[in-house]
Subunit: 174 residues, 2 copies
DNA sequence: GTCTATACCAGGATAGAC
DNA sequence: GTCTATCCTGGTATAGAC
């Protein structure tokens, strides 16, 4: 791992656990065993470091959503979307916590990937003949956020809740 | 309004719009037309000021939930809970934004009122004969959060979504 | 209760050597 | 690419007079 990568991973870790504002570049440098100046050489300023951290995470996140975008069976699309939160490995939890925090405190947080998922879901509900596909897709997004909150914030086991939600859509099959 | 109250209301306004960390006591003092020292006389430190701001807001929030806690008709309880977010007046939006932000970045954020609502909802679902009342109550909480997000973050009109959710529970009546 | 003045430190950021 | 040293600002907080 290059020093640049070490900085990036330590920054993610600290931003996620303490928050962006509460984390100083000093701290990051110390924990990464790197001089503070190096951070600014590589990322220009603190904001730039945050953006790099986000970009890195977003790429990982897109990999979850991409497979769904390629599916054709509407039921499989909906089910996969709902189950999305349960497939996030523990080592990525901190990153997602950071993302949800930023969602509430920064206007321009990245969410293109989710918009694509939203469209895919709308199409899926449409092809299943639902009355208001956009609203149904929006509801799925709400379920995803709710499950994510349960996992990331309360550290709870989401399987029971996930099952419950699934039965709302696939009553006779599960 | 006493100077203490002016400080409190300005602090709420600034914490909510810019965030807690990003707001300096300097700024609060200036905008409240008050010396900075006075803030620390009244609230000991910045953290104490935040707590006072929260306490004030929580009291207001409890007033929304209390009427529901006194209801007896289970259907009315569920419906009222779902409609909760639509009844928050615009001038309180900033406060709720602050609360949702803190939910993600502070461990001990106040939520007793919501826990009470949760219990009331569980009892309501139980009396209606639902299979897993706890999970159903948790789902309502997720809906509330989802609707709040729609209103506070995207500034969207939640009525269509609220109606959609209501039909999930009261299909034949609406 | 309130203000003025001030201490003091930590934050982000830069310069320059290697 | 990396480190050392340093700057400067602005942040929280206190002391003491009124």
């Amino acid at each position: 791992m290059s020093k640049k990568e070490i900085i990036l991973s330590k920054a993610l870790e600290l931003f996620a656990s303490r928050g962006y504002d509460a984390t100083s570049t000093r701290q990051i440098a110390t924990e990464a065993h790197v001089s503070e100046g190096l951070i600014f050489r590589h990322f220009h300023n603190k904001e730039g470091l945050l953006e790099a951290v986000l970009l890195q995470g977003i790429n990982k996140a897109t990999q979850y959503i991409e497979p769904i975008l390629e599916m054709t069976d509407p039921r499989q699309i909906i089910e996969s979307a709902i189950c999305l939160p349960t497939h996030v490995p523990i080592e990525e939890h901190e990153f997602w916590k950071l993302l949800y925090t930023l969602k509430w405190q920064r206007a321009n947080y990245p969410q293109e990937a989710f918009d694509q998922l939203q469209q895919k879901l709308t199409a899926a509900f449409e092809s299943l003949g639902f009355e208001s596909p956009e609203l149904e897709a929006q509801l799925i997004e709400i379920y995803i956020d709710g499950l994510a909150t349960e996992i990331l914030l309360r550290g709870g086991d989401p399987t029971a809740l996930t099952q419950k939600i699934l039965t709302k859509y696939f009553k006779n099959e599960h």
